[in-house]
Symmetry: C2
Subunit: 391 residues, 2 copies
């Protein structure tokens, strides 16, 4: 069924309304909801929606009664002082001063409920540690959450050089149509692309063609919202991706490059459900998922926080909740030193393979060195090297 | 569809098999599975089942593909040493020395997987604290979990004076038939019953009769497994319930009293889903749920761990997953000092009401005093007083 357009640009004057200042991350959430990436959510979560999400990893569509896969909290925190200030208010305007003066959304008939931060974090991240980077952010929020009927009054522009890539689900569907695609396989990524990714993406296209599709198109869909400080920021990442399209490492005829507006959670198996379910809204037909999606090191112990295959296993297990989108699990690709190329790694000749980490790349860039031949598109490496050298 | 009987008593000799010693709590879990209270589970959880349960609060029936509400982990922990000892074993016998020599179950084609205790606890209990009484027990378990095809070779007897009340789902359904009931409303409880409970239980029957049922029967179904040390143990609780049936406080013609074998989790909203879903297996038609089901104080802060209404709200929200069992939410009943009786408490005249806690009851019992008139059946209080005085 057609979905209501949530953002309705308007010249209406909301300047007299009491307003809540939200940070950049929550502006990203607002955009995520407003542009339709969080269907069936039409505003920041209310208490019952949050309860269903953190417990069941689903969100019931109030119109159809259907349970949609929905695994992460998307809430609007505020302090007790702000809550007090809004007493009796029938409308609250949301603004983000980092993005200018404009009112971004208006919440009518506001309802405040307790921000049960400990419970939200424990259930979402599956850790008892308070040092997980996203847990730290949530635990620092105000003690209340705001919900209510939400009017999205403005398409948010971030003016950060990336707005050109912030395509709405509808814009992506238009490009799919223009390209005459009969399959769209989405790839969520928050790192620069090396030739292992490229191998995988080309292999996926070939697989789909073998299955009978005529023109499968890649939706290369990097995460565009908040990431932790030691991740490569969005702008150099996008420039690196663009370089790969320019030099033909990825075929532009077979690729749509767009930014997905959601912030990152580092929530492992829980988060990969969100990564996949959100992309369903762009009309994809296939979603690729690999090793340790959205994973992170344990904040206090020397190990991975999540089982590195649980995300893939869980997503495959619940794929019937993805509106007929097919999940394509993939193996790890690694650099074969003998062959001087990326190959799928099956564990059989480990001595031939090398894994090159982000911190190794950073070190090579600082020393103005090159990556091993065949590891990454040289044009992409130039972008990345420039970023690392600027640090 | 008819369910396979899991326990098949056999005289087969399993004494030569390598065996794993399980504690009493895990014998209770074994009984819970074996008697059919954990359908569609047919053995301790394997990795994929556990992953689905802790993330989605469901368990997919391998036969029908249907997703069943299932919210708590039921696993068989073992140490690295035990895992090493079982290397190459095709069958492992489960025994509980506290219950004698007998083999209780045999696990074939054993599969060992990591006991991700931190993640299991965080996701199930929604707390970052390590001092929650059940979290402490899980965190103390071995680092591995055992799963595999499970043969239940024996109906477990605990020889604790309570076996007479441990009715299987089939035995309960026989009693329902004998009583000619056209509705069965289940009440999960792990405390002695005061007149507030009695008021509620009678009120429920009247409600159902007003709805058109001719003979609604109460399944009074106290939890029979492990409880924390400061809860009233199962034996005096059952004797207290039996006293209420004997003196007519509860009508024996309208009541089936049976023990439910599961241990307690103190998992609040997550656990109430289990409490309800498990009883569906006994053929109930209605399930009562009140304030703060399975709740507990925060282990390290002076507040309730869970929102006291989240359990009821969540269960009502997902009741369509309960095989047409209707959920009956109820209000709080409290003692009205003026009227000298229990009444439903709507908050309108709070000064008239008194809430009497377990620790207050304990103090009164120690001092050989009586409860306020109309608070509890005198016969029930005698049982409870004797227990508290024995401490």
């Amino acid at each position: 069924m057609p979905r209501a357009k949530l953002v309705k640009e308007t010249a209406e004057d909301f300047s007299a309304l009491p307003s809540l200042e939200i940070d950049l991350e929550h502006a990203e959430y607002l955009q995520t909801i407003g542009e339709g990436w969080a269907h069936p959510l039409t505003g920041f979560m209310n208490e019952m929606q949050l309860l269903e999400v953190i417990q069941m990893k689903t969100l019931t569509d109030p119109v159809t009664g259907k349970r949609n896969l929905f695994s992460v909290p998307i809430t609007c925190p505020l302090t007790s002082e702000d809550k007090e200030r809004f007493k009796g208010a029938s409308h609250i305007a949301l603004r983000c001063s980092q993005l200018g003066d404009a009112v971004l959304a208006v919440v009518s008939k506001p309802v405040f409920y307790a921000n049960r931060k400990e419970e939200i974090c424990a259930r979402t991240f599956g850790t008892q540690s308070l040092k997980h980077c996203k847990v730290e952010r949530i635990m620092a929020e105000g003690d209340w959450l705001l919900s209510g009927d939400t009017q999205f009054v403005k398409h948010i522009k971030f003016n950060d050089g990336l707005d050109q890539w912030r395509l709405t689900p509808e814009q992506i569907q238009e490009q799919v149509k223009e390209k005459g695609a009969d399959a769209v396989y989405a790839f969520q990524v928050r790192n620069p692309l090396h030739n292992g990714h490229v191998l995988l993406l080309k292999d996926t296209r070939e697989q789909l063609i073998r299955q009978g599709y005529k023109n499968p198109i890649l939706l290369l869909h990097p995460l565009g919202g908040w990431v932790k400080d030691d991740d490569v920021p969005t702008l150099p990442r996008m420039e690196q991706h663009a370089a790969l399209l320019k030099d033909g490492t990825l075929n532009p005829d077979h690729t749509i490059l767009a930014l997905w507006p959601s912030p990152m959670y580092y929530g492992g198996p829980t988060e990969v459900l969100w990564h996949a379910a959100s992309r369903v809204n762009a009309g994809i037909t296939h979603f690729i998922t690999g090793r340790d999606p959205a994973g992170i090191k344990h904040p206090e112990q020397d190990k991975d926080l999540y089982d590195v295959w649980h995300g893939q296993k869980l997503l495959v297990h619940v794929k019937d909740m993805l509106n007929n989108v097919e999940v394509m699990p993939f193996k790890v690709a690694a650099y074969n030193k003998q062959a001087k190329e990326m190959q799928f790694f099956d564990g059989s000749n480990p001595a031939d393979f090398e894994f090159i980490s982000g911190s190794q790349m950073r070190k090579l860039a600082k020393e103005n060195q090159d990556l091993p031949e065949g590891f990454m598109s040289p044009a992409g490496w130039e972008v990345l090297k420039a970023y690392y050298q600027s640090l």
